[in-house]
Symmetry: C2
Subunit: 402 residues, 2 copies
Amino acid sequence: MMRAIDTQAFLKDLHDLRAIGRFRTGVHRPTYSAQDMESRRWLMRRLEECGLDPTIDGVGTVLGRHRGDGPHLLVGSHIESQNEAGWLDGALGVVAGLALARAGLPVDVCAFADEEGHFDVGFLGSRSAIGEVTEAEIDGSHNRTDGTPLRAALASAGLAGLPRMQLEAGRYRGFLEMHIEQGTQLESTGLRLGIVTGIVAIWQWRIVIEGAQDHAGGTTMAERRDAGLTAVRLLSAIDQAFPQVCGERSTWTTGRITLDPGAPSIIPGRAEILFQIRDVAVPVLERMEATLRALIRESNRRERCTATLEEISRNTPALCDPGLMGALSEAAEALCPGGWQTMPSGAGHDAQNVAKVMPAAMLFVPSIGGISHHWAEDTKEEDLALGVRVLAAAAERVLAAR
Amino acid sequence: MMRAIDTQAFLKDLHDLRAIGRFRTGVHRPTYSAQDMESRRWLMRRLEECGLDPTIDGVGTVLGRHRGDGPHLLVGSHIESQNEAGWLDGALGVVAGLALARAGLPVDVCAFADEEGHFDVGFLGSRSAIGEVTEAEIDGSHNRTDGTPLRAALASAGLAGLPRMQLEAGRYRGFLEMHIEQGTQLESTGLRLGIVTGIVAIWQWRIVIEGAQDHAGGTTMAERRDAGLTAVRLLSAIDQAFPQVCGERSTWTTGRITLDPGAPSIIPGRAEILFQIRDVAVPVLERMEATLRALIRESNRRERCTATLEEISRNTPALCDPGLMGALSEAAEALCPGGWQTMPSGAGHDAQNVAKVMPAAMLFVPSIGGISHHWAEDTKEEDLALGVRVLAAAAERVLAAR
């Protein structure tokens, strides 16, 4: 006896939220921007309408508490976006929570702040909610784009002084996060649902290369200490070595290369590379890190510039809960027979933090063309609707269990 | 019977000019900044004191005209600096001209505007003075750093509407530009003077690589169209291929690599590379360009991202005048026997433009450690003093010839 999910109301909520901070067909809602705060207030009104008690905490995480007795589930994701990015990333999981609440399921709905990492603390909302973020960490954090201190941003957003929400131990049977796939695994196999087995860990470094800044005309090739050239050679060596040590689904990414001073006629005296690796298996990550360190040692032996590795962040992979995965799989098979698969998540999600304090699982729906972190990101409405119905059916199974 | 050069006054002028826009031990005088305009006014006062008629023209070029009869020589360089750069680059050649004028030699002294290319027109002052810059080119030009239109910068500097100076055909026996070497060729061989044989041509391109922006976690390595990775592979191929086709003194430089959007967790959808080559020989430049184009064709055949080559600028090498070179060589041998050599200039200079309308030559003094385009740039005072005495002695020889 399944609860009826009002998929029309669910899609209307998604489109209403899309209008806040609209950018082309996507949205621009960086954390604590006016648009982001407007979206949080919009969410609190919707939570109230659905009969939940909404609060916003000291880092901007919004929680809508179910007023009745348990057992409860926690359902949600995040609501801010990357810059000029897609309308569904994060928003989908929050609005799906709303849909379950509207259907009368005993769920709390959450929108964790800054999953997208506009501030360098990383997963601020979900890490704060499990007690992992200290006040000192907040004091020392800044916006990655413009350097604004996190404290100043919180004050501007009207959040300074509010208490930080802690997830209530024992209240929940688990956490469910619905999300777009952000890849083409589902689309390319013609499947409509992904039951996530685990969330990769992300290990990030800054590779800093020190050379000598010189005039590009007066300095012969033999005399140069070109930090940019050393960077290119090191990245080329990584490109050649990593396929031999990586796992089947490992990824490694150079997101930024900065040559200093960056002028056409000046030999770069310094280069900075943002580099990250991802995998679900720690031994694979360790093998990749060892290879990276060996390549840097080798570079320092051969090159005239010195490369050093500065760790930015390192987390642990999160495995999804088998019970919740089972409920999602049964619901998927019931509503879309043969149309789903299990798969790892290559992207980080709040679920990886929540999984430290309660069972957690994730449901993926396809991303058209795999486009993500870009305003053109999209998912077919029929896949969105199927996803929320599967999420609700899985929640019912979990809540009904004895 | 050589004119006495007052090297103390010459060094004092250099140090006075160094105080305008001082940055650490160097200077920060970007073209048309308050500091740059102050230095131009300072120069006009010094020219007047030395008995010349000073004018400033519609692009900021300062010319001090000798009031007496010819034959005349033109002596000078530029007075603005790169950002946070050295005190001698440009300034030395202008102040050397002042020293010759103070000694009573019949010279005009010039400071050509924006040799450093803060505006994208390139060599604005010297190209304007030989009639190569159209009004339309000025209309379309912008500051490379902050995008300010050149017209707006000229208006702010009080130069709008002033006529643009044209070098007077037939007035000069030639142009002499004294400059720091900006390399270590002199220092490493223990020599104190370089007689420049020619100025390299600089050919510059923007290499644009188009891929697909995607989430760094959700997109497998096999699915990616990573513009940054294609850039690294192309630059690595250039690094390997160019030594086989270049000339003995060719240089090639990647000054900037921009990955778009440049965030740690986003696969770059676009990459831009600023790339330039330099040589005195056109056939060598053509061979390097052909290799670059072949490597880009090969990249486009193999990679999932498309690279295109956009030409930014291309000039011709300038050969120095044998007569002027002979006068400089004789003066150098007389004042510093065995302490000089002939050498090409790897850097571009205003002399390459002036050489199109009159005989031109350049004299180099050593750069300590070869440091250039950096505030730490420096030259020993005894080398500065020797240089200006050689320049004056060479000027006397040229002016005395019948």
